[in-house]
């Protein structure tokens, strides 16, 4: 294809290649950008992944459905709850069971909390990518509140393995609702501070506006989803397209910005935090009573193939289960959002400066274990 630079043999060319990664502060993990520079300008980028490939899909073939859940936590570790939910929904669909409304509400609350926590961490790291070091501490400070809510109920902070096929591992802690309400009021006060510190800042706006423009067509063609895709005007919110769990019961807006630049992707995430707070507010007081865990004899998906799409904090997560009817899947495929989001980077960052490459890769919000699986 005419635009692909991947097949150029680089060895016999005098190119100024800089390896960003596998250990580099801006790649947030073990990812390598083979970056060809011309002065400060980036000519092209070849992403190399696989440094943290663990073969999760292969491992899943040997584990039962409840067991393999703990592996999904470790893909996109910032959306652990949502990954769990995806697998659980897929298995439940396969078995033809439906969980109680209480479970649905709690799952959605957890998912939205996860989304906020993920966006907070992204905001922190994005600020740091751009050189505003203080954002990192403010973001993590507020994320701590969410992690405390998680820890109180699930016992762990980052990778919870809390949502399982058939329901939840345990009921929520009595303090759960009170703490979430406290968090909502707390975070509503802190979010404008985020805007004052970074969003409005002239240096920040200059650094992000018009940088890394991704058109809607490009986003669809490359399969860029989540906030990155919505920043290009691509309506790809699975919560709206194919509502699951408690999303049919709540009112929320899909955040769309048509500009497609780094600033738009930034704004989508900032607005999504507000929107998630609204969703939480609608749900938290209305958790119905119900069964926490369905009494299932055995968790076995009947023979067949099942696909479940959910919206994680980074985009569309697809879980594809091929079952032979046994307790473990014959083939498990995770269509992870970061995998698709990564490869757009050569397209949108070529021709910009090195500093812009950092900003763009930060705005795509990549989580490397999710790419490699």
């Amino acid at each position: 294809m005419e635009e692909t630079l991947m097949d150029i043999d680089l060895k016999d060319k005098e190119e100024y290649i800089v390896n960003m990664g596998p250990q580099h502060p801006s790649t947030h993990g073990v990812l390598r950008f083979e970056t060809c520079l011309q002065g400060e300008k980036v000519k092209y980028i070849i992403p190399h992944c696989g440094y943290i490939h663990r073969g999760i899909e292969k491992m899943c073939e040997k584990l039962t459905y409840p067991q393999l859940l703990h592996l999904t936590d470790r893909m996109d570790y910032l959306s652990a709850h949502i990954n769990n939910e995806a697998v659980s929904l897929c298995v439940e669909n396969a078995m033809g069971i439906e969980v109680s409304d209480r479970v649905k509400y709690i799952r959605t609350i957890f998912a939205e909390l996860t989304r906020i926590a993920s966006h907070q961490l992204w905001w922190s790291a994005f600020g740091m990518d751009l050189g505003a070091l203080t954002t990192f501490f403010y973001g993590l400070r507020d994320r701590e509140k969410i992690l405390d809510i998680f820890e109180e109920t699930t016992g762990t902070r980052l990778i919870q393995s809390f949502i399982t096929p058939g329901g939840l591992m345990a009921d929520v802690h009595p303090n759960f609702q009170r703490r979430i309400k406290e968090f909502i009021t707390y975070f509503r006060k802190k979010l404008p501070e985020y805007d004052q510190l970074l969003t409005g800042n002239i240096i920040f706006r200059e650094r992000t506006k018009g940088i890394g423009v991704m058109s809607k067509e490009l986003a669809i063609d490359y399969g860029v989803t989540g906030p990155s895709g919505r920043g290009s005007g691509f309506h790809c919110d699975i919560r709206k397209i194919a509502p699951y769990s408690a999303y049919p019961f709540v009112k929320f807006n899909e955040i769309i910005f048509p500009e497609g630049d780094t600033y738009a992707r930034y704004l989508v995430r900032m607005k999504e935090m507000w929107e998630s707070l609204n969703v939480l507010e609608q749900l938290v007081d209305n958790i119905p009573q119900g069964q926490i865990m369905l009494e299932l004899k055995a968790i076995k998906a009947p023979k067949g193939e099942y696909y479940q799409r959910v919206e994680t904090a980074r985009g569309e997560l697809g879980v594809y289960i091929v079952s032979d009817g046994g307790p473990s899947p014959a083939r498990m495929k995770f269509r992870t959002p970061n995998f698709s989001n990564l490869f757009i980077i050569n397209k949108i960052a070529s021709g910009h400066k090195i500093a812009d490459l950092v900003a763009i890769s930060g705005s795509l919000d990549l989580v490397i274990p999710d790419i490699d699986r």
Binding site: P66, T134, E151, T156, I159, A170, H173, E193, L197, I202
Partner: protein
């Protein structure tokens, strides 16, 4: 007209500068505010606050075989926890002894827990019908020797509360 345009452009130039400086000052107000305000520090002095540091009740520390005051646990060697474990972190080693009625029965010899492979998924605890397991509050897992992470959970000399027939 041209003059007007020039004036407008010059005005824009200074407006831009003003906006930029104002946005910078807004940001500095946030950080400066935290610098001045008292009681904003969120970090803790960790080893000093060990005495007051309390984990949440549900906290998943290390796996623990519950022993009561008589040094009795309730593991009946059904091996469910070991089968549920996705990582093979639990090994239940039993020995056969002659019961009072002359029938041989299994009793727990060693309950081995590999902390180094445990992923804290929490499948083992609800799996136990005898409620013999729980997660304790221990969070200081670090050791200098990897072999220390393999733990024997039943205390020496402990006996089983319920004896499987």
């Amino acid at each position: 007209m041209a003059l007007l345009k020039t004036i407008k452009e010059v005005g824009n130039y200074f407006n831009e500068i003003y906006d930029g400086v104002a946005s910078l000052v807004r940001g500095m107000k946030v950080t400066g505010g935290y610098f001045i305000k008292r009681g904003q520090i969120v970090t803790q002095k960790y080893p000093e606050n060990r005495a007051t540091l309390k984990m949440f009740d549900n906290f998943k520390g290390e796996l623990q075989l519950i022993h009561d005051e008589n040094n009795q646990h309730s593991c009946n060697v059904c091996n469910t926890c070991a089968r549920k474990c996705p990582n093979g972190s639990i090994e239940v080693i039993y020995k056969k002894v002659e019961g009072a009625d002359g029938r041989s029965k299994k009793i727990l010899d060693k309950y081995i827990y590999h902390l180094e492979t445990c992923s804290f998924c929490g499948l083992c605890v609800p799996a136990c019908d005898e409620h013999a397991l729980r997660f304790d509050q221990e969070f200081e897992h670090a050791v200098f020797d990897k072999s220390k992470l393999t733990k024997v959970l039943n205390k020496p000399g402990s006996t089983c509360k319920v004896v499987k027939e």
